[in-house]
Structure formats: C-alpha cells, structure tokens
Symmetry: C2
Subunit: 187 residues, 2 copies
C-alpha cells in the first residue's frame, strides 16, 4: 500500500479536503461550489466526485480520519471491559496533538448550523464498526448493550468536543475525561 498510485490518491484527497475547508471558511459553506473546490485542488469537477459524494463530505473528511484513528485505538486496547477500553482510547486520542491551524478552521465550520447534520453523519459512519468491536469484547453477547454503548460513547465524545470548541479555556483532554466520567457513573 505504499505505491505511487496510493500516495497520489491520498494527496489529492487531502488537497480537496483542505481546499474545501479553506473555501468554506472564506466564503461560507453555502457559497462554495464543487467546481471552486476542484479548481483550488487542481482537478476537474468530475474528479472531485470520484473522491467525495458532496462538498460536506470533503469538509468533514478530517473528522472521519480522526474517528477512524479512534477506532484503531480502541482495537489496540488490551482485553477487558468494553467501557474501560473506550475511555482509554478516547483519552489517548485527545492526548494526541491537534493541528492548531486546522483547529480554528474546524471551530468556525462547526458554528454553521447547516453543517451539524453532516457532522453527526461522520460519527454515525463509524458507529457500526464500533458496535462490532464492542461486541467482540463482550464476554457474554449482548447486542443491545453493544449498540447503546457505541452510540452513547460517540455522542459523549462529540458533545465534549463541541463544548470544548465553544469554551477552549480548559484543555481538551480534561473536558473529554470529565464527559467520559459522566457517561460511566450516574449523576
């Protein structure tokens, strides 16, 4: 998977993502056409569609990558209670560095209410995989529990992230840890 083809594809995909994010900030997400994004990434409008189903998907590609990284972290956790593995993975993810430039971009984009639906769609995209991984970790099979756990965990992570974007005074790891605690214990 280290072929030139693969690297080029990853590069143009990333270029489209970056261009989409930048243009959405400069002119507002609704005022950006797919053609403008494609131009900024030096590809044709048709090629854009070979990579993303729409401009919103391109904008939130970063979130998708981050959530896939989370999934990998969960899979890398030692065997044990699923909840503990999820919390550890979330803390590790938040501990990894943030690109500060990407960050302010994401903050501005998240403000726009027309995009929140696509934001949650990115989370929903990994919910199925996360449910499968949780099921794998249960000593007694319990599909309902696995589903609820995956959904609530991702929801808590999303809520904590959004809250932190609105109130960046506290470090993100702290906010996420606190949110995870709420989800684990009763309040």
């Amino acid at each position: 998977m280290d072929t030139l083809r693969e690297r080029k594809k990853a590069a143009t995909r990333m270029a489209l993502h970056q261009a989409a994010l930048r243009l959405a900030l400069e002119h507002g997400p609704e005022r950006v056409t797919v053609e403008a994004i494609a131009d900024a990434a030096s590809v044709s409008r048709r090629t854009f569609s070979n990579y993303f189903a729409g401009k919103e998907e391109a904008i939130f590609y970063g979130d998708l990558l981050r959530l896939r990284r989370l999934l990998d972290l969960v899979r890398a956790q030692p065997a044990g209670p699923p909840r503990a593995a999820l919390v550890r993975a979330a803390v590790e993810l938040t501990g990894e560095g943030f690109d500060p430039e990407q960050l302010t971009r994401r903050r501005q984009v998240s403000r726009h209410p027309s995009l929140v639906a696509h934001q949650v769609a990115a989370y929903a995209a990994v919910e199925r995989d996360l449910t499968a991984e949780i099921s794998r970790r249960q000593e007694v099979e319990d599909p309902l529990r696995a589903r609820v756990l995956a959904a609530t965990f991702l929801a808590a992570l999303r809520a904590a992230t959004q809250h932190w974007l609105d109130h960046p005074e506290r470090p993100p790891a702290e906010v996420v840890a606190e949110a995870m605690e709420m989800n684990t214990n009763e309040g």
Copy 2:
C-alpha cells in the same frame, strides 16, 4: 392556531410526508423524485420545496414529530434530577401507541444505509432544545453535563429504537427501559 389555513398546511405537509414514505418503500428511496412525491400529494414540485428542504426531510418528518413529542413530555415532567425526567419521558413516549402501518414502513426505510445520516440528523435537530431544557432543570449550572446528557440520552433512545426494529420480538417499552438503565448505571 386552529384556523383553516393552519389545518390545510398541516394536511398537505402530512400528505407529502406519507407520499414520500410510501413511494420510498415502493421504489427505493433513491428512485423517487421530488416531482413524484408532489404529484402523489397533488401539489406542485415548487410547493414541495415550501414544506421540506429535500425528500429525506419529508421521509423523516414522522421521526421529527415524535422527537418533538418527546421534548414536550420532558417539559411536562415534574421538577427533579434531569436524568429521571428524561427516562420517564422516554418510557411515556414508548408507551404511547405505535401506528403499526407506519411502523413496517419505518422499518424498511431504516434498513436503507443511505438514509441513516438523515435519520440521525432528525435527532440532532432536537438536541439543542433538549440541552436547554436540561440546563433549566439543573440546580447548579453545568453546560458540559447538560450537553453530554442530552446527546447520550438521545443516542441511547435511537440505539434502542433501531435495535428493536431489528428484533421486534420484545415489546419496545422493555427495550427502551433496558437501554435507559444501561445509560444510568455503570456496566
């Protein structure tokens, strides 16, 4: 608000919703055009756009109504810990009858993977309002907690509903109650 105008608007909105749901089942959600939905409801294509932003919004209008109903039930709960109010409201909502015809329709529609994003979008639409209501019920203000609670509660409800659609052998109230219990205690 009981004027003729209002009743007519509600009627055509409902007619469009029903038509969208029915046609999406008959031909698959992707094979249904807005024009076909509008025709089935005896309005013009342009009028459809006066009511819904797209066919998916029309399809999930029933879910939106149900979630607004949930919001009302939460507001009607007596003062007390927010979590308890949410659980009671969810149980009450699930206790209310299901239209069995609507139900099989919803089941078929939920299967289609291209619609799950819009499904969760319906939930996200009420998350802000639910957060506000929870904040109102907190004796000490805690915005992060309110946000996480709203998000995880809705996520648990959605997960329980989807699980029940896949495994309808148990009564829905039982499944929802069990999911709520998972969300309240630690597991």
